[in-house]
């Protein structure tokens, strides 16, 4: 067992990190855990000041200084290295088209990091062809998730604004990654809360076997029944062995987005409840099953320490709902809210244990699942703090696909900063799901959500008939 590396104390990976570590190991394309994004603003920047602010932000964020090491048995450990001064590159895309610039950044996103003893991030200052200026940031998912990445970017902005503008206060310190890591590892080592979480999820899994719902209908499950010779088969293989991926983005405009957000405010539910209700009703419509399961990601950042300590914390669990067609849309949304609240309280449970326990109980074969897709809702934007200090300056954020995914279909819904609309980002295996299938699903998802929010007392069955 490793205790130190290069003089630094090492720590085991958390459950959330192990999830990424193992699927990277199993995936032929090692960039599968890369997360690439850019933030640009419509203003001139002082590049030297920006560079110093990036160094400062890097120094303030322990998880940006994370390194990894393997012991002789292949076990992975982590440590926080001292701050090191790396040169921050500057790339000027002036004279190129936006497509060409984005293609270059997509290329950067497809380069995997060296795992052992090397930095797990790359920052480039960029000027884009549309005259915007800013940064491109690439991180390995073992060190950061979307929320910590946004938090890091906000810190750079606040540091920059503090340097450039007199009335902008210096940002508060980030929280210690190592302190939070020790808390997480203490939970994983065993405690009453962990026992309660295990009990909750095992009971949930044992309640009954879920059923797979396909994006186009029950054909895939029927094929699986034939293949296994089991007419009662309920799980199906959803992903393919080809991990090549594409990212298709659908934009919902500001006005319809506002209508959805108004509904959420009025009925005191989060947007993710509405999205889950829309998606599960779509699968119910296509498959004729009232039993629908979808994977959902839980960011697990509640305390300020969790929110500001960086790192990767997401746990994903199947979210199953069984709703008869007589249930009203609003009752369904409330049921989702209540179930989700219950799950939130046990979200520290190990998702790998979840799938292992369920797979064993229902004798699933390799690759068989009940969930046709995963959903993440990203409520954080850079709009809340930081950029407002620049006074109404327009800005753009963009996420770049890494070209690989082990999941058939992964939907991330996030707020679009330039017009307060929503982006529906579908990352999918190109051999598992086509853009046309996604367009069809997105079209009906929106129809369901708008019909339901306009008439929340309509039943699920009535909505399915009306759309």
């Amino acid at each position: 067992m490793m205790k130190t590396r290069k003089g630094y104390q090492v720590y085991p990976l958390t459950v959330a990190q192990k999830f990424h570590f193992f699927y990277q190991k199993a995936c032929p394309k090692k960039q599968v855990v890369n997360v690439g994004t850019s933030l640009t603003i419509e203003a001139e920047l002082d590049w030297e000041v920006l560079k110093q602010c990036i160094y400062k932000a890097y120094e303030r964020c322990e998880s940006m200084q994370l390194r990894f090491a393997l012991d002789k048995d292949g076990e992975c450990y982590q440590y926080v290295a001292d701050k090191e001064d790396r040169d921050i590159e500057f790339v000027d895309f002036s004279g190129k088209t936006m497509e060409e610039a984005e293609q270059v950044m997509r290329g950067w996103t497809e380069v995997p990091f060296e795992l052992e003893d090397s930095p797990m991030n790359r920052i480039v200052m960029i000027r884009t062809p549309d005259g915007y200026n800013g940064i491109y940031l690439l991180v390995d998912h073992l060190t950061m998730d979307a929320q910590s990445l946004i938090c890091f970017m906000k810190d750079i902005i606040e540091l920059y604004c503090n340097t450039m503008f007199e009335d902008v206060p210096y940002p508060k310190d980030m929280a210690s990654y190592l302190e939070q890591l020790k808390k997480d590892l203490a939970y994983e080592a065993g405690c009453k809360a962990k026992d309660r979480d295990i009990e909750f999820f095992q009971k949930l899994i044992e309640s009954s076997e879920p059923i797979y719902n396909g994006i186009d209908g029950p054909e895939k499950l029927e094929e699986e029944k034939k293949k296994t010779g089991n007419p009662k088969q309920r799980a199906a293989v959803n992903a393919t062995d080809c991990v090549d991926s594409a990212l298709d983005i659908f934009h919902l405009e500001e006005e319809p987005t506002k209508r959805l957000m108004d509904f959420c405010e009025k009925y005191h539910v989060s947007l993710v409840c509405l999205l889950l209700m829309g998606l599960r009703t779509y699968f119910q419509k296509m498959n004729g099953n009232e039993d629908v399961s979808i994977n959902t990601a839980i960011a697990r950042r509640a305390t300020l320490m969790e929110k500001k300590s960086g790192g990767t914390r997401i746990h994903s669990f199947p979210f199953r709902t069984v709703m008869p067609e007589e249930k009203t849309f609003l009752e369904g949304v409330y049921e989702i809210r209540d179930k989700q609240n219950e799950m939130f309280r046990h979200a520290n449970y190990n998702p790998v244990s979840y799938f292992a326990y369920r797979g064993k109980l229902y004798k699933n074969q390799n690759g068989q699942t009940y969930e046709p897709m995963s959903l993440t809702y990203q409520p954080l934007t850079l709009q809340e703090k930081g950029l407002d200090k620049l006074g109404g300056i327009k800005y753009k954020t963009k996420w770049y696909p890494n070209g690989a995914t082990t999941q058939a279909m992964y939907l991330t819904v996030m707020h679009r900063p330039d017009d307060n609309g929503l982006d529906f980002n579908f990352e999918h295996q190109v051999k598992a799901v086509s853009k046309e299938q996604l367009e069809y699903m997105y079209y009906y998802l929106c129809k369901i959500m708008f019909k339901g929010t306009e008439n929340p007392d309509l039943s699920i069955g009535e909505i399915i008939k009306l759309i």
């Binding site: 989060s270 839980i298 509640a302 305390t303 989700q340 609240n341 219950e342 309280r345 979200a347």
Partner: protein
């Protein structure tokens, strides 16, 4: 109870203790997400030695309502 709850709230969202009033709404005024709120309930259960019902808790909108609910549970 109110002061103690304010102390807990300030571990979850960036807000000055003096800005937290009984009429402050968790989501709209203090910036809580549902996950923040449910996680905080776990901490409150341990701190006040009570057992919270998720569905009842989902009806709580303001800090004052939370105090009232906790006081009711503590008295049981």
């Amino acid at each position: 109870m109110f002061e103690e709850l304010v102390g807990v709230i300030c571990n979850y969202v960036e807000v000055e203790p003096a800005a937290v009033k009984p009429e402050s709404r968790f989501m709209e005024d203090l910036g809580f997400t549902s996950f923040d709120f449910m996680s905080m309930l776990g901490e409150l259960e341990d701190r006040f030695d009570v057992e919270v019902d998720e569905q009842e808790a989902a009806q709580i909108r303001t800090v004052g309502e939370a105090v009232e609910y906790l006081e009711k549970l503590s008295a049981q």
